[in-house]
């Protein structure tokens, strides 16, 4: 794509984003001409918005203290600090740095042996070696996939009112994990999610994976009980525009559908031109017809020979025959019910219309559900490899321009595609064939796009440093925040692209910086100048996210099962609401030992462990998470049976250590918190051991039992500390 063409694209993006400019509101009241004039002015102003200009590698600034920086990132940061009169604090301790790296890169605490090795390695390359090890670990992909899954509003059910399971959503989850582990170039990663079905492939395995990637577009929340077909279609398209624009471009384009103030006609066309691309796309999410589902959908059968795993075990011949019989029986039953109803109506005696309707619907729903269950398998009982995803419709269509996004108010038809939305009016771009998704994918994942790389480097920075360079990771528009370090952001974006869009390389660059190594300590003088640490004079203390807290507890307790989970429990429930209810109940009762990324994410039915520690709403794009410290978490850690069970496992592990009791307790401290206890900690341990009261019944059972009980209470206390759930 030429630079010139890019200019056109930029201009149109501005047109869309400028919708939210408040000035439009007053202009709207003044009539069309005033609006048009004002629009031009806004367009001019918007063109200067920093995010709509391509990042150009900036000059690395000079610094006074040349000994401090380890690389260019540090030079950009230090230059600003020196200007403001702020002094970076000292580096953090080696233990703290290792713990920080381990959690940030893999979501797990360092093991005792790893701590020993790192402390023993006094060479200059010690940090690099640890970073290489962590980046190569399969745990890296599990950790970083979850960050993307937040942004991709990943979940395994349809959400909203009906909330039916998406039994095949997990394939997308696994694809994302694999992509991060393989360090798939980020531009390819984006292209596959928008148009994987249309991309060239190297064979069935590659093709299957690329189709799975399009699950991104299919797994959004859906109002399956919406009765108006066109409304459902437009809502689906709108959700796709929303997730693509927020996650990949940091723009909230979906605002253009229903925003209250007057739209510039060009802009309305933009939205609907883009909408045409998705209307020409068939979204397959696989939910059978149900009472509350008037929009059943099928799935994509993946090419045979793809070698992808299945969530289901093969059926025996009898089992398969039983499923077939069930379908036949229910089909017969449904026909009988319909015949009866028809006969009753013909005779003019229809005692209760609603009851009859519900009977017919119920019979049909049971049949549909049984068919869905059966259709999971081939004739020979082997499970079919199915996936959610999108395909081009046989016939591409254009969207009518809908007044206020209302399907009842269609206006003129807008040719779909890049023509109006992405390009200047005098540079019409034809969509050569199909929906236009391929064009969209290549445009978004382009080096000429000013947003894609910036948005991603900012996401990565935010996860590693605790705050983004742009503090609104999903909004780089005019209503978003200004970058704290614009040059650094551009530097990172350019380097990221030059590194072949390698996320691992980007992570490596950030975590091997001096800024990343700083201690998370307070400093009065710096605080007086920069209380928010915008200048990065220290590391922020950060609360771990829910998954890392849970995984760390399991890891420390020795009960974490790191083998990847095949499929998901959601894949094995019956495709009806009872199946869903049973699943939710069992998830609440039974402890699980897999990594949190493999826990089933049913919309609005989150596992308690995750919900209590601010897991985001999986119906929304979430580039950042809340990090609260509230009594509910304290109560959970002190009182939840699963936490007590983990403390017992941890205590058993500690009791089996070869050292004496005193050393064992200190060892446990290190296992949980990644450092040796300090004098204050040891005093606290002594006091606790001297004073821990045991109920009299226990005391009668002897000292050993009291000691073991105290150890469990101690292990639980370690889980409960503020330090356990924070990185410093």
């Amino acid at each position: 794509m030429t630079h010139q063409r890019w200019f056109g694209l930029t201009r149109a993006w501005i047109a869309v984003v400028a919708l939210v400019l408040p000035t439009l509101r007053s202009a709207a009241a003044e009539g069309p001409q005033a609006r048009a004039d004002s629009w031009q002015a806004d367009l001019e102003a918007g063109r200067h918005h920093w995010a709509f200009n391509k990042p150009v590698a900036p000059q690395v600034p000079p610094v006074h203290d040349t000994a401090w920086p380890l690389g260019d990132i540090d030079r950009f940061l230090l230059a600003e600090m020196e200007r403001a009169g702020v002094q970076p604090v000292a580096d953090s301790s080696r233990e703290a740095l290792l713990r920080r790296l381990s959690f940030d890169l893999t979501g797990l605490p360092p093991e005792s042996g790893e701590i020993r090795d790192f402390l023993a390695d006094s060479s200059a390359a010690a940090v690099d070696r640890v970073v290489d090890r962590l980046l190569a670990s399969p745990r890296f992909g599990e950790r970083w996939a979850r960050h993307w899954l937040d942004v991709a509003r990943y979940a395994e059910s349809s959400g909203k009112e009906t909330n039916l399971p998406f039994p095949h959503a997990w394939r997308y989850r696994d694809w994302v994990i694999e992509a991060f582990n393989d360090d798939m170039p980020y531009d390819d990663f984006l292209k596959a999610q928008i148009a994987g079905d249309l991309l060239k492939h190297s064979g069935p395995a590659d093709q299957a994976r690329k189709i799975v990637a399009t699950g991104f577009l299919a797994l959004g929340p859906k109002g399956l009980n919406e009765r108006d077909r066109r409304q459902f279609q437009m809502d689906l398209v709108d959700e796709q525009i929303d997730v693509v624009s927020q996650s990949m471009l940091g723009l909230t384009l979906a605002c253009a559908r229903c925003h209250d103030h007057a739209f510039d006609p060009v802009t309305q066309r933009d939205y609907h031109a883009l909408a045409g691309i998705f209307m020409s796309t068939e979204t397959l999410y696989g939910t059978g017809a149900q009472l509350q589902n008037v929009h059943p959908s099928t799935l994509i059968e993946l090419p045979s020979g793809a070698g992808l795993p299945s969530a289901l075990a093969p059926l025996s011949a009898e089992e398969h025959a039983r499923l077939e019989r069930q379908v036949d029986d229910l089909a017969e039953n449904a026909q009988a019910v319909i015949r009866e109803a028809a006969a009753a109506r013909a005779e003019g005696k229809e005692p209760n219309g609603t009851a009859t309707f519900l009977r017919v619907q119920g019979a049909r729903a049971r049949l549909s559900s049984a068919r869905s269950d059966r259709d999971q398998f081939h004739e020979d009982g082997s499970p079919r490899a199915l996936a959610m995803g999108v395909l081009d419709r046989p016939q591409a269509v254009d969207s009518p321009l809908l007044q206020r996004g209302d399907v009842d108010q269609p206006g003129e038809t807008v040719p779909r595609g890049l023509v109006e939305v992405l390009c200047a009016p005098d540079e019409p771009t034809k969509i050569a064939e199909g929906s236009g998704r391929l064009d969209l994918a290549f445009w978004i994942a382009s080096r000429d796009n000013p947003l894609a790389a910036r948005v991603m480097v900012n996401r990565v920075w935010l996860k590693l440093m605790g705050e983004g360079i742009v503090s609104t990771p999903d909004n780089f528009g005019i209503m978003g925040a200004e970058p704290s370090h614009p040059s650094l952001l551009d530097h990172l974006a350019v380097v990221f692209m030059e590194d072949g869009w390698s996320v691992k390389q980007l992570v490596r660059r950030i975590v091997t910086s001096r800024a990343y190594r700083l201690a998370a300590v307070h400093d009065d003088a710096n605080h007086a100048i920069d209380p928010d640490n915008r200048l990065r004079w220290r590391m922020d203390q950060r609360r771990l996210d829910a998954e890392a807290i849970r995984d760390a507890m399991l890891a420390v307790a020795g009960t974490l099962d790191v083998s990847p989970v095949p499929g998901s429990p959601v894949a094995r429930v019956r495709e009806d609401r009872q199946g869903m209810a049973r699943l939710v109940a069992s998830l609440r009762q039974e402890p699980a030992f897999c990594r949190s990324v493999y826990l089933p994410i049913v919309r609005d039915q989150l596992p308690e462990f995750l919900a209590v520690f601010d897991f985001p709403d999986s119906s929304l794009v979430s580039g950042r998470r809340d990090a609260t410290n509230v009594p509910a978490q304290g109560l959970f850690l002190l009182n939840h049976p699963h936490v007590v069970a983990l403390a017992r496992s941890f205590a058993q592990r500690v009791a089996a250590l070869p050292d004496g009791p005193e050393d064992r307790w200190c060892q446990a401290f290190e296992m949980a918190l990644g450092r040796r206890p300090g004098p204050g900690d040891i005093a606290a341990i002594h006091a606790f051991r001297a004073d821990v009261p045991a109920p009299s019944a226990e005391r009668a059972n002897g000292a050993a039992q009291a000691e073991s009980r105290a150890l469990v209470a101690y292990c639980q206390a370690l889980f409960a500390t503020a330090e356990f759930r924070h990185i410093h």
């Binding site: 209302d406 108010q409 929304l620 410290n629 009594p631 304290g634 002190l638 009182n639 204050g680 606290a684």
Partner: protein, 473 residues
């Protein structure tokens, strides 16, 4: 001045913990418990004097999530009824395609005051003379997440403290063994609406009935059970647990010292544990409704098919404010009636009508209503014109919210929308104005309730807000 320097507020407590961690030996459980209660009288949650005498000491906010239709409930629009079926006016910008829809429910004048209320709220209407109906509410955006955030924090654009957090920061709370700010049945993903943002974490809301599945409010009428999750230990008795918690707190204090003595996160954890521990005793008492008279339960609709869930939550709200909780919010959804307005709105209203009437009556009988401000409202209203076959769209420029008790005039209407109910035209009350008025009723000057953060003083009302003095009794 309620603007408090956080360092001094938390100072004594930090000194204690640091001292304890440095080890003057372990205090006996009883001594620690005494210490805990003493700390509670100096902590950030102790009652603080208001700026001026308060009319309301407590708040119950009945938050109707989704945007209840004002033109079908409390904003009587004869012209809308007369002109039903005609095209929506040009101002609605529907290109003449949408038509005005009359409410399907009859409005009548109720009480001595003759307040107009539709038959959807027959029970609440019995208390018409207690209601101050604000028909001129306005908010910036007609989108749920933004408007819900603005309703609670004043802004959709930034992460800011919740109304309840500001209240707690300004006034503290009367019962140190219960959270001062409780949200019953909070909707999912609305953490920011109940959060403390830059205020100390101890001011954020504690959720009730949300833990295992946070917030079915938007998705299922009634929502979860009104309990606080994990309120008792399956493992340790209370004394042993206190000893365990002392260990945790000493570790926390020693960590705080490592970090240079200042760490909002660690301090937040320390505070949250003390509160959690005290809650374990107090919450079961407050939550136990077995001592309530049968007539009281009936009043709230407890046991009724439609009214049981919300009735229990309203009863819980009364018990909580009675126990000294400063700010209680009960969220009820879903009022987002794009479809099936005729049946769905009636169903939704039926779920709350009786419980709310019961709450008002019960508070009045107990002498609590004078000092308890009850608020009913959602993030916006709905369009006077129809949407689809049987629905109404979002309307942010004019909608209704009412208040009762706590120093507001009863039986009055404040402000008005235009003839059809699109836009507030008389005594417009933007969310900022409502917040200013609400704080005023609580004895707080919205311009003086500030918190210094990142080098400047922040307010709930930013640079806006006018107190509506006409509605104050």
């Amino acid at each position: 001045m309620a603007s408090v320097d956080r360092a001094t507020t938390l100072g004594p407590r930090r000194a204690f913990l640091t001292h304890a961690a440095n080890g003057f030996g372990l205090l006996a459980y009883s001594a620690l418990a005494a210490e805990a209660s003493e700390r509670a009288t100096t902590g950030p949650l102790v009652p603080k004097p208001p700026h001026f005498p308060a009319r309301a000491k407590r708040v119950i906010f009945l938050c109707m999530q989704g945007g209840p239709s004002h033109v079908d409930t409390f904003d009587h629009k004869p012209r809308l009824i007369a002109d039903a079926g005609q095209p929506a006016p040009a101002a609605a910008r529907r290109g003449g395609r949408a038509t005005l829809v009359a409410p399907a429910w009859k409005f009548s004048q109720r009480g001595q005051s003759g307040l107009w209320v539709s038959s959807l709220f027959d029970e609440v209407a019995r208390h018409a003379d207690k209601l101050c109906v604000i028909n001129s509410m306005a908010t910036d955006l007609p989108a749920h997440p933004q408007a819900f955030a603005q309703l609670h924090t004043g802004t959709a654009q930034f992460i800011r403290p919740s109304l309840g957090a500001w209240t707690l920061y300004g006034l503290g709370t009367e019962n140190q063994n219960l959270p001062g700010f409780i949200v019953i049945n909070p909707p999912i993903a609305a953490a920011r609406a109940f959060g403390s943002a830059f205020l100390p974490a101890v001011y954020q809301a504690t959720r009730v009935g949300g833990a295992p599945r946070p917030g079915l409010a938007g998705r299922r009428p009634g929502g979860g059970d009104a309990t606080i999750a994990n309120i008792a230990s399956p493992f340790l008795d209370r004394a042993a647990q206190r000893t365990q918690l002392d260990l945790v707190q000493r570790f926390n204090a020693s960590r705080l010292e490592l970090d240079g003595g200042t760490s909002p996160d660690t301090e937040g954890v320390i505070e949250s544990y003390e509160l959690a521990f005290r809650m374990q005793d107090e919450v079961p008492k407050v939550m136990d409704t077995s001592g309530e008279a049968v007539e009281t339960l009936e009043r709230y609709g407890v046991g009724g098919d439609d009214t049981d869930a919300f009735g229990r939550q309203c009863l819980m709200a009364r018990r909580l404010v009675e126990a000294g909780v400063r700010f209680v919010q009960v969220t009820h959804g879903n009022w987002d009636h794009h479809f099936n307005l005729g049946t769905a709105l009636a169903n939704t209203a039926r779920q709350v009508d009786r419980p709310i009437a019961g709450l008002l009556a019960d508070l009045a009988d107990r002498g609590l209503l004078d000092e308890t401000l009850v608020i009913w409202g959602g993030e916006f209203g709905r369009t006077p014109h129809g949407q689809g076959a049987d629905g109404r769209d979002h309307n942010n420029k004019g909608f209704t919210l009412w208040m009762a008790g706590g120093g507001v005039k009863g039986g009055m209407v404040h402000g008005a929308t235009d003839d059809y109910g699109y836009e507030a035209v008389d005594k417009r009350m933007h969310i900022h104005d409502w917040h200013a008025t609400l704080l005023h009723l609580l004895g707080l000057d919205h311009e003086r309730l500030t918190y210094r953060y990142a080098g400047r003083d922040f307010r709930l009302t930013d640079v806006h807000g006018t107190v509506a003095r006409e509605i104050i009794a």
